[in-house]
Subunit: 102 residues, 2 copies
């Protein structure tokens, strides 16, 4: 499998972020071709020292890195990417990798 | 469910990191009570711009944040945490959150 891990930094306006994320962004992301599973953090993201600086984590699973890249390159993938500036102005780190179970 | 997401920064000596991670650290982590699933990145971690600065991602799943915290607070959890300085000197970010499927 492969994962797209999206780390959203702490926004200034949490309520506006959440509204846009769940009302607009998540429906766009769900349309990405090849998406097998879509998981988000709930209730905050902690770090061992306390605050993590990350407000929300999204983990999108695909069959492989090739499927992930194909999905993100599709018009639906690009619509989700193009929506990021509409709510993630505080910053976002995006990681992509093949994964295996240990 | 809940996830412990461990982001290891690029080490100076990749081969030494990998040896220690899979020979020593992963066996310690597998013993953490309450661990339901353990997934690692394979073949590098990319970012949309190219290099991500992250060398390896580990995702450990537990039933809940309470179970995660109990597991990490156990002697087995502490043994895994105490092993980090032995191979992750380049830095590591640790995130913990409850998760839900969308």
């Amino acid at each position: 499998m492969a994962k797209l891990i999206v780390l959203y930094k702490q926004p200034q306006d949490e309520a506006a972020f959440m509204r846009h994320y769940f009302d607009v962004h998540a429906p766009l992301a769900k349309r990405i071709p090849g998406l097998r599973s879509y998981e988000v953090s709930e209730g905050g993201v902690a770090a061992p020292g306390g605050a993590s600086g990350v407000f929300l984590v999204a983990m999108l699973e695909f069959d492989s890195m090739a499927a992930l890249q194909e999905g993100m390159g599709s018009s639906q993938g690009q619509a989700a990417v193009n929506d990021l500036p509409n709510f993630a102005g505080a910053g976002v780190d995006i990681l992509m990798c093949d994964t295996r179970k240990l």
